[in-house]
Subunit: 270 residues, 3 copies
Amino acid sequence: MTSLPTTRVLQLKREGAQLFVTMNDPTTRNALSATMLADLEAVLAVTRDDRTVRALVLQGRDGMFCAGGHLKGALAGAAAATGAADPVHEENQRGGRLLHQLNRHPMVVIASVDGPAIGGGLGLVCCADIVVTTPRARFALSETSLGLTPAQIAPFVVNRIGLATARRLALTGARFDGAAAAAIGLSDHHCESPEHATATVERLLADIGRCGPHANAVTKALLFEVAGIDRDDLIRRAADAFTACLRSDEGREGIAAFLEKRPPSWAGAA
Amino acid sequence: MTSLPTTRVLQLKREGAQLFVTMNDPTTRNALSATMLADLEAVLAVTRDDRTVRALVLQGRDGMFCAGGHLKGALAGAAAATGAADPVHEENQRGGRLLHQLNRHPMVVIASVDGPAIGGGLGLVCCADIVVTTPRARFALSETSLGLTPAQIAPFVVNRIGLATARRLALTGARFDGAAAAAIGLSDHHCESPEHATATVERLLADIGRCGPHANAVTKALLFEVAGIDRDDLIRRAADAFTACLRSDEGREGIAAFLEKRPPSWAGAA
Amino acid sequence: MTSLPTTRVLQLKREGAQLFVTMNDPTTRNALSATMLADLEAVLAVTRDDRTVRALVLQGRDGMFCAGGHLKGALAGAAAATGAADPVHEENQRGGRLLHQLNRHPMVVIASVDGPAIGGGLGLVCCADIVVTTPRARFALSETSLGLTPAQIAPFVVNRIGLATARRLALTGARFDGAAAAAIGLSDHHCESPEHATATVERLLADIGRCGPHANAVTKALLFEVAGIDRDDLIRRAADAFTACLRSDEGREGIAAFLEKRPPSWAGAA
């Protein structure tokens, strides 16, 4: 059994073959900051080849799952000079690689969502094998309302809920709850309370406990091969699209409006 | 802001960032005639690069959305000599290109369906980002009941509702209503009345109004790239399949039976 | 009209354009034994180019659809020497080819499920164009609970219910009934009784009877082309994965535990 890494904004709890990974960074509402990305990367790296970890439960706490990309970090990057090593482009690719790794992590990943999962937070959810929600779960692909684009998230959303629903959600930025998530196939188990969600996760862990750990890892890899998914080139192209949006007039106006708590210049009925 | 084209069977109404496109050709039940195709092509061409148009609402009127392909036009073509420039093959490809362009149109496309959308009419619906239906909505992939094949429509149906449901609907030709359309993910918002549908469209337009127009266009293009869709070669091959069916014994019998208002020779329980 | 083959564990009944194929091998619970595969191959071969057969109804009897792979046959093969002509690998590929052929069979295939359809039995169901279930229908991807992998089945499960749901079902091995199958899009018509299911199949056969047989065959082939599915290479790679699992410590332990009616060494909450 591998020893767990030291993390700063993730709480890790190992219970037998289960690893509970709790995002706990209230100052950023569990945003995908550089610190959060580093912590998640460390957890995935150390568990990847450890078949004694058979399930990873990703959750938030205190009614918050993950508020999405770390806008202040992106802004700081955007203020820097562009160039071969554009920091925004680099950080955006890093987020894409993290989602790609989480999606293909060889053990079963359960996302237990008891609060908002917005933008990149919704991306995390879409990378799980099983999604459990409570009445506090909230989702949105809100990037376009800031003049940005959910570029790195898009492949995982499309694979999870299909192209048609992804188009609708991305192009309206609409917020929706766990019941609506269940209706579109995003939530597998929408529960009436956090207690019910906890019991559901326990039942799922018991089911997973009956499956061979190596057989599960082989099967998960095979399902991706069967689905014909190969995303490596897309990560760079997604970063191109995100970075261009962030540096466009629209992206600059969107973020300025967000920080000044006013509607952007384009807002109003379409 | 671009000026709108002159159209013969489409009524165009611009309201701010919205363009309402109303099919109005009662003599053909809004069939995809050469005139209808030309009008739709003109609207798409003039709006494609105009980010001041942020949503396009496609609808019918008087309880009719679109009856599908223009059978009389196809028959006239079929009577002509075949050859390098087979008019049936050309017209069929033209329909496929129109659907392809509508599907990828850079603004949000809403289909508001308050009546039959059959064959190619269902194809139009499947190309929209968001589908709203009323109790009068009716759908069918009826081509095979005429000995024909929904060749150009197939990619858009598969992308909208998935291969499994597409197989069932295409191979049974079954008619279904808006509630059934909602159950299979074809209708995003099934409404109890036309008034409710109108209010739903207005709410969606308000949501779209909060999204950056350029960000939405970038995002829509990205979603297609992510889904790995590339259809160009398929348009010609779909036209091959359609034309071969139309000229087969079965296709000739199917159309003759349709015109003579009798069942085709093969009809009866499978 | 082609004459039907002689079969040992399939009962064949031709009624006009319909062929009812009833699995009847109570000693193996209709497992996909070498005999069952040979019978199914013979039926598909003789009907493939016969457009007078317009629908094939695949069903079990006495409350059993198909218990899945024939474990005893696989074990006998596993005991034999490995090598260029590993019998387990060969037999596994044979199952994959059968599913591939059933999936693309040019007439409409209806699976009428009134009992368990487990592992490879669920694979058969996923290859049908239309699935009808009764309250006795039961489903599971149970391979991983034996330390094995549903390798040949995976492509058809993914195409039928999508990657996200396939991940969840394969990695938990959970059992589910017809109502749950309808909720995930596996069952098209969940019926309250066997009589209701029979009437539903009759109604579907009447719908199919209105469609041109040649047009249906062309359309079915076109839908696969549109979906961009090409599986030939996958059959060998799936057999590689299955065979490796069967010969691994985990696979050996899983099957031994199954035969000794005890939990395998890994069982317990994940």
